[in-house]
Amino acid sequence: MNIIACVKQVFDLQQVRIKKETREPIMENIPLTIGDIDKNALEEGVRLIEQHGGKVTVVSAGSEDLEETIKEGLAMGADEAVLVIDSSLDSAESAVSAVVLAKTVKKIGEFDLILLGEGSSDNYSGQVGPRMAEILDLPLVSFVKSLKVDGHRIQAVRSLDDCMEVVEVDMPAIVMVMSEINEARIPAVTQILKAGRKPKQVLSLDEIEVDPAEMETKVETLSNLAPEQDRKQVIFKEDADTAAADLFNALQSEGFIGR
């Protein structure tokens, strides 16, 4: 069984600080990592391979740092990596990522299953999977919280707003997983040490035959600011009984309690 896990290189969001005055994120010296839900997708691939045999190829597109970042995916159990590296892919929008990843997958050729996270850790648009399915003309199963493989068929449980849906589909197919599908493993030392020695193929945009028109940016970022916290800073200075009553009234008038 050949599984492709598509992952995205993102900033380690836990280390991003916000500039107080401007609400802009401070991105200097923030390490890059693989997105959290992408790790769940990769983990699911590795687990399926452990059960059914085969190999997991981790696929990603991004800037030069990607060769380092992807080692984490190899340490988690991917057998090999296929990367498309180009400075223009740094923070590429979903439509571009989908084209690049789909063409990379075509270049790889044989596969049974493509796994992705339901959305990237940074933009969370959730568009790359559906767009890839359209380009590759493959069935797509999204919001998957559990997955089983039986021969050439997969059975997936989809977690929807008010119900669970069980679907079966023949492979090849694309599956987008939710974070609750598994707990991504912490790599063992032997895997970390082996990661650097696992096969890694680096492709250029030319090699996967991407047309420059397909790389055209259609999304413009107007602003990227942390949400404003509107604090009223009301202080009740009276004695405890009065202050408690005033606090209650204030919360009630805001509609938080005692409607």
């Binding site: 063992a188 030392v189 970390i192 040490l193 990661a195």
Partner: protein, 381 residues
Amino acid sequence: MDRILPFTDEHKMFREAFGKFLDKEAVPYYDQWEKNGTVPRDFFKKMGDKGYISVWLPEEYGGPGGDLLYMIIQTEEYTARGLNGIFVRLHGDVIAPYIYRIGTEEQKKLWLPLAAKGEKIFAIAMSEPDAGSDLANLQAKAVKDGDYYVLNGNKAFISNGMLADMIIVAARTDFEAKPHKGVSLFLVETANLEGFSRKRHNKIGLNAQDTAELSFVDCRIPQEALLGEENRGFFYLMEKLQQERLVAAVNALGQARRSLDVTIPYVQQRKMFGKTLAKFQNTQFELAKMATEIEMAQSFIDQLTIEHMADKTLTKEVSMAKYYCCELASRVSTKCLQFFGGYGVCEEFPISRQFVDTRFLSILAGASEVQLVIVAREMGL
């Protein structure tokens, strides 16, 4: 300031992975381990499953074959979380190397994979009630009797002593020779060993780390359990001291840093006389002095690490580092605790644990005074 140690991507990945592992498998349970007086066996096994024990051990004996920097990273990650009493390092990075270095092939094949998997736990018994750093004066004795040695003696302050499945015991085997020429080492299995008993020491700190007093009365040890050559034990024990002292210094420096790290947020929010403690010049000066000392020590330690990895002899320098960093850790935690006032002596505040735990550092693995004797001797005094 960037550190000069040659950390690779793999080292960085390992630091992140090991940190996550500790956050998941140790941090939530550590308070309970402190109460229990021991780290559970299960934790050793979890470490072993991930290959986190004896990371230096070559693959042929069941290890991953990493370099010393992995050990440094582990030490720093334990101490950054105040997990001062987890002595898996002693088991995997101090004791297992004796077997790797001087054991027979059979001993290596038997014990090293078990150590790396965390399936058997090791201790080393050198200190005695009347002989700590004075190793040449050991009283425990092993007398040959056919295919066995008969072991008699008492050992004290033995880390992992209660948990240990196998203890490397230093005992006198030649009673005519000069004191340091008559000591041998034995791989003593504790299961079903007649005449063996152990008792926990109740300590003021490092409570998760089990420390025991051991007693051997006419214990029959098969001759195959002799580790290395007979009567060369003292020399074997001396040979690895450079690395042991270096790592002890790394550990102490990490604990000093942890004390400072838990204090800074506290002084930034604790108010006295209308302003935070951090705004008082005394606080600023004291914390700035401690931070300076820690960073200066870090540079020295990192340089030593590089030279040690290049196989240089650093007898004087590692003793300086062990002495200085251990005293520094104790000094920093004492001064930091003062900023917490009454809260500092309450167990809920992590500085209290730092205070008691760091007090051990200048005593164990060669007391400060022993390190100073060595430094002075190396200075030609």
